[in-house]
């Protein structure tokens, strides 16, 4: 139990630039500038390598088009409305699925987490259902909903739900008993205690779950489109691949990567905003 707790909860904190005690503001700024420069060099080097490897024939350009061609293909695709529709479909499938999973997980997690009897009764079922890979549900989704967006949603919700639910359970269990008893002494009712004591203590966990869930939801949204053929970027990739448009496949993969980066950055920003009062964000030392 403890093993699971330690790893799921704070082991992967928002890995932003930790405030290191630098000598002076100016020195820190230059070192940050150096880091950025190195990072840009890294990107340039990666692109250069990608350009050179197919050009000198290490890998056939039929399978690995040079970076410039891929970027041109990406730019071309970005002018087509078809791509934007696919992108929108993906974002909707992801967002809607994540929303449903989050609401369900938070409501159920708070209910089950605050009632020990329910928690004990459901533990074995949760431990069994949670590790079931949601791709196992693909055939079921196909039979039930065919290529409808609902088959995307089924996979996304199932995958994201467990990530968030488990974190909510840990969060509700992690409430400081002194704070809880203090609230009781002050005569706060059950709902007020949930609102003022349990919710803020559980919020970091909820957001950790949300961050993990957001990444998993994107993976499953794209998977559903790729395998089942529900509309979205994944389907575009499958179509491009089967029609032999190799550069387009790479271009779309880069696009999904960009989407992933945006999701990561967005969720981190949300975390920092909602948890501005929490030690992990205030920049104090968290072990």
């Amino acid at each position: 139990m403890t093993a699971a707790m330690t790893d799921n909860a704070p082991a992967t904190p928002a890995a932003g630039p930790t405030a290191e005690a630098g000598p002076s503001r100016a020195a820190r700024a230059t070192s940050r500038l150096g880091t950025t420069a190195l990072g840009l060099t890294g990107i340039a080097g990666f692109l250069l390598l990608w350009e050179v490897v197919p050009r000198i024939g290490l890998v056939s350009a039929d399978y690995l088009p040079p970076a410039s061609q891929v970027l041109v293909a990406l730019a071309e695709r970005l002018t087509l409305p078809r791509l934007w529709v696919a992108l929108l479909d993906t974002v909707i499938g992801w967002g809607l699925g994540l929303l449903i999973a989050t609401v369900a997980a938070v409501v159920l997690g708070f209910a089950v987490g605050s009632l020990p009897l329910l928690r004990r009764l459901t533990a074995s079922t949760v431990e069994f259902l949670r590790p079931i890979p949601s791709v196992a549900l693909i055939p079921l989704a196909v039979l039930l909903y065919a290529t409808d967006i609902r088959s995307t949603l089924l996979l996304v919700v199932y995958a994201a739900f467990w990530q968030i639910y488990i974190q909510v359970l840990y969060g509700v269990a992690d409430v400081d008993p002194v704070a809880e008893q203090t609230a009781r002494s002050f005569g706060l009712g059950r709902l007020a205690r949930i609102r003022h004591v349990v919710w803020p203590s559980a919020l970091p966990y909820v957001l950790t779950g949300f961050r993990l869930g957001a990444a998993v939801a994107l993976i499953l949204a794209i998977t559903a489109q790729l395998i089942i053929g529900s509309p979205g970027l994944g389907k575009e990739i499958a179509v491009a691949q089967s029609s032999g448009a190799v550069a387009a496949v790479y271009a779309l993969v880069i696009l999904t990567g960009a989407l992933g980066v945006i999701v990561n950055i967005g969720v981190r920003a949300l975390e920092r905003r909602l948890l501005h009062w929490h030690t992990s964000v205030r920049g104090e030392n968290v072990a």
Binding site: A123, S124, P131, I219
Partner: protein
């Protein structure tokens, strides 16, 4: 434990143990049993074509998987899964230690790695199919290239967070590179590495199934899709159950390994919490 409890325990230890065991069993099995009954009832009442009843699935399961198919489809899939996972673990930890120890190298590669990690791994299936064709190598490559990222990035974070006092102490006592690596760096990064491995394991299962569903003529994923396409509904359900069981077993196995590897860490944490 309070005094009256102790005396009652002395009076009838067997009875107490029995009640405790019965209660645990009740908590363990009550809800699953209820759910299976509910499934049964729903299947019987609604008469839904897609909802095979649990007894049919159980009977079909034995028929479908206890035989040749287990050796031809299930076992190679699991072997690929474990092989890919192991390869990704070795590569991820080795690269992660290297990058974690060198701030310059880290700054150089960080943006690229962050981007590569953000790519949803399943899109690598069509990509690697282009590069490597449909082969065992491709499937392994898909698994490795998908699940290396959480391992790599967590290892980097773990190595970065090595206690500087301990690092300095090692240096003062003139402890060699190899000793330093095994006893200090890998040890103190192990909680993070295990967290990365756990994430990677669930990604590996997804990728194993997908690589077989997308393009293959054997394996678990292929077989399940085949059942679904031919509307062999109970058989399809047995496939889902088997995948679920594999996921469950791997996660239990991983927890056991983790408990062993991180025994020292959990002990330290419990001690600091004053338990």
């Amino acid at each position: 434990m309070s005094a009256p409890e102790v005396t009652s325990a002395r009076r009838a230890p067997a009875l107490r143990l029995l009640t405790a065991a019965a209660l645990r069993l009740w908590y363990l099995l009550a809800l699953p049993a209820a759910l299976i009954l509910l499934w049964w009832w729903a299947g019987a009442v609604s008469g839904m074509y897609y909802l095979s009843s649990p007894d049919v699935i159980a009977a079909t399961f034995a028929e479908v998987w206890f035989g040749e198919r287990f050796l031809v489809d299930a076992l190679p899939s699991v072997a690929r899964l474990l092989g890919g996972f192991a390869l990704a673990a070795v590569l991820g930890v080795a690269l992660g230690v290297g990058l974690g120890l060198s701030p310059r190298l880290r700054a150089l590669t960080e943006p690229v790695l962050e981007f590569l990690r953000a790519i949803p791994p399943p899109v690598l299936v069509p990509l690697l199919m282009l590069l490597a064709g449909v082969s065992t190598g491709m499937k392994l490559l898909v698994i490795v290239s998908g699940c290396i990222w959480p391992i790599l990035l967590n290892t980097i974070e773990g190595v970065r967070a090595v206690d500087p006092v301990l690092a300095d102490t090692c240096r003062c006592y003139g402890i060699g590179r190899r000793r330093r690596l095994t006893t200090l760096i890998l040890r103190s990064a192990s909680p993070q590495i295990m967290a990365g491995l756990r994430q990677a394991l669930s990604i590996a299962i997804i990728l194993m199934v997908i690589s077989e569903m997308f393009a293959s003529s054997s394996g678990l994923g292929f077989t399940i899709v085949q059942f679904q396409r031919s509307f062999a509904i109970p058989e399809m359900w047995t496939g889902i159950v088997l995948l679920g069981l594999i996921g469950f077993l791997l996660s239990v196995l991983f927890q056991l390994v983790e408990k062993r590897v991180l025994a020292w860490y959990n002990g330290v944490r419990a001690a600091t919490r004053g338990e």
